[in-house]
């Protein structure tokens, strides 16, 4: 499939469907993007597992670190890769050796590895690359609208007051708003700098 752009319906189905997320490369340093993406997803009710061999023995917002995907004691729905693009291939291979298989491989903003994606898709997994699940969750729920970000969604229903642990509805009406044109161009620029 095309990994330059994603329909909202694709992202929405993934974020509505997964419960357990292993974040590989999660950092205990509270100014790193992985730290606050992890914390946000935990606050939104996902069962989060931090994976980082250098941090075993410590925990991240109360969740103990594990060294690798193999060390997780329960089935995981999604692997969120917070590493560089080269590290994605061995991580996908590791994920594909799990039983049961995870359903989704998600590579963070700035991370893209088409070979790894093709392997995961060949095994029946869904793949998202170069996106942040916190940003996408915030966008589809419109929580990110507090920051003036174009959620590219609409709703005429009363908004919830988000509280700790609350799962937000992601089922708003998606709109183009032309926003995808710009996003397409950003993806092209990144792949092919002038």
């Amino acid at each position: 499939m095309n990994h330059d752009t994603y329909d909202d319906s694709y992202i929405r189905e993934i974020l509505n469907g997964v419960k357990t997320i292993a974040m590989v490369g999660a950092s205990p340093v509270n100014v790193r993007p992985s730290y606050f993406a992890f914390k946000y997803l935990a606050q939104r009710g996902y069962d989060m597992i931090p994976v980082n061999p250098g941090q075993v023995g410590k925990s991240l917002v109360g969740k103990p670190f594990v060294a690798s995907l193999r060390d997780i004691d329960r089935p995981i729905d999604m692997v969120d890769i917070f590493r560089n693009s080269e590290a994605a291939l061995p991580l996908v291979e590791e994920a594909l050796a799990l039983n049961p298989l995870p359903k989704v491989i998600w590579m963070q903003l700035g991370v893209r590895n088409d070979e790894a994606a093709a392997k995961a898709e060949a095994a029946g997994l869904k793949v998202v690359m170069n996106r942040c699940p916190k940003i996408e969750y915030g966008r589809l729920s419109s929580e990110i609208s507090w920051m003036g970000v174009n959620s590219r969604t609409l709703s005429s229903k009363r908004a919830p007051v988000p509280t700790q642990g609350m799962r937000l509805s992601l089922n708003r009406v998606s709109v183009g708003g032309g926003g995808t044109n710009a996003a397409d161009r950003a993806a092209r620029n990144k792949n092919d700098p002038a």
Binding site: D7, D8, S9, N30, V31, P33, Y35, F36, K39, Y40, L109, G110, C132, I135, G138, S142, E143, I144, S145, W146, M147, G148, V149, N150, S151, R152, L154, S155, S156, K157, R158, A159, P160, V161, Q164, V173, S174, V175, G176, G177, G178, G179, N181, A182, A183, R185, A186, N189, K190, P193, A194
Partner: protein, 426 residues
């Protein structure tokens, strides 16, 4: 399943707005408050550290303003926006995120006089150096590029000369130079032109004009197209380097394709301080709901008035790109097919004195320094908006001494024409 894409008018009413969480209020409430309580110490720290979505203090963001921001971002096809106190504030905050002292940016000469002043004098005191180019001669932009160039700035429809800028041609030069293209889209509004579709990386508005549309509230908006890679080289350290006050966060790494809008908020708006009043945001939002209807009527009226003026024996020339034979008519057909806007100039055979007489004889037109009101407006730019420019710069900006500028309103076009008719006879 592919997501369905609602049209422009639906976005103008709905984008960014949702019934209020606590009261169910359907119109966007005016959150007239300076500050917002935190849930607990951890929540407060998360907000200050840019880790959580939420509100802190209205200088940094406000729920009413956020609706305006998302709505304009949606209409322009950008990833995010920031509302500020005026169009001029939008320019200062934008350039502050891009330029270091000693840097340059290239700007078209065909600009609003207030922008020419701001760039020429006040920006110089910050060490930001404007290099002028001519939008009618695209090669001048290419020649103006230097190793210190950090951005290119143009207006889509230029004020007051009624010129239309070839956005795609200038975008190609910006792309080659590795700098963002900034387009002031005030006079067109996204209903007529969406500069991002033609290669703009940042779009600015004086929301005071057609977005608000009723001549009652000053405001400005910065739209991030999400198209520029700020970290490719070290030219934009505010976006690519660790921010010491935010514990080493790198803005582009953290916020991806809306990092520019975030930089403008958490650095420029926070430290320069030009926050928009939530009341003004509410007024501008209300205006935007009818933007498509108003803008089309503005254009239809303006075309009728321009045609009438061009047949009037006292009129020497009408500079409206919507008229066949105008030098910008082809560009107007390409970039602004629904109409060529409502602001244009004309000159009278009687020269400067006849222009001054016309302004004083008009009874329906208001003589004032604004454009994009429901009311028809008139001004003599050489003695007002462009008075601080040299004579040469006035002429190059399309504001020579014999020029009268009008902003055609939403009145019945017969009444607008009748007022011009009686004033030209008087």
């Amino acid at each position: 399943m592919t997501d369905r894409l609602p049209g422009f008018a639906t976005l103008a009413i709905h984008a960014g707005a949702q019934p209020d969480p606590t009261t169910g209020a359907r119109a966007t409430p005016i959150y007239q408050t300076t500050s917002f309580v935190f849930n607990d110490a951890d929540h407060a720290a998360s907000l200050f550290g840019l880790q959580a979505f939420g509100n802190i203090y209205t200088r940094l963001g406000n729920p009413t303003n956020a609706v305006l921001e998302e709505r304009v971002a949606a209409l322009e096809g950008g990833t995010a926006a920031l509302a500020v106190a005026s169009g001029h504030a939008a320019q200062v905050v934008t350039f502050q995120a891009l330029l270091q002292p000693g840097d340059e940016f290239i700007a078209a000469r065909q600009l609003y006089g207030g922008s020419i002043n701001q760039f020429t004098h006040t920006f110089k005191s910050f060490g930001w150096n404007v290099v002028w180019a001519d939008a009618d001669d695209i090669a001048t932009f290419e020649r103006a590029v230097s190793p210190r160039t950090k951005a290119i700035f143009i207006e889509s429809l230029a004020n007051p000369g009624g010129s239309v800028t070839d956005i795609e041609a200038i975008s190609a030069i910006a792309r080659k130079a590795g700098v963002p293209l900034i387009v002031d889209n005030t006079l067109a509004s996204p209903y007529l032109i969406r500069p991002i579709d033609h290669g703009a990386d940042i779009v600015l508005h004086s929301a005071t004009k057609f977005l608000g549309g009723h001549g009652n509230s000053i405001g400005g908006v910065i739209v991030d197209a999400g198209t520029f890679d700020w970290s490719r080289d070290n030219k934009y350290p505010i976006l690519s380097e660790p921010r010491p006050e935010y514990h080493g966060i790198k803005l582009q790494e953290t916020f991806g394709n809306f990092a520019f809008a975030i930089a403008c908020r958490v650095i420029g708006l926070r430290d320069l301080g030009p926050a928009l009043s939530p009341f003004n945001a509410f007024m501008i939002l209300t205006g935007i709901e009818t933007l498509p209807l108003r803008m089309q009527r503005h254009c239809d009226n303006a075309k009728a008035v321009a045609e009438w003026l061009s047949n009037h024996p006292a009129v020497a020339a009408v500079n409206y790109s919507g008229l066949p034979g105008n030098r910008y008519n082809n560009l107007a057909r390409k970039y602004s097919p629904k109409g060529a806007g409502a602001v244009f100039t004309f000159s009278l055979k009687g020269g400067y004195d006849a222009g001054v007489d016309l302004v004083s004889n008009l009874k329906l037109f208001s003589h004032l320094a604004n454009v994009g009101d429901t009311r028809s407006l008139v001004i003599h730019p050489a003695s007002t908006t462009h008075s601080q420019l040299t004579d040469d710069a006035k002429t190059k900006a399309g504001a020579g001494p014999d020029i009268v500028r009008v902003s055609i309103g939403l009145e019945d076009k017969e009444d607008i024409i009748a007022d011009l008719d009686q004033a030209l006879r008087a």
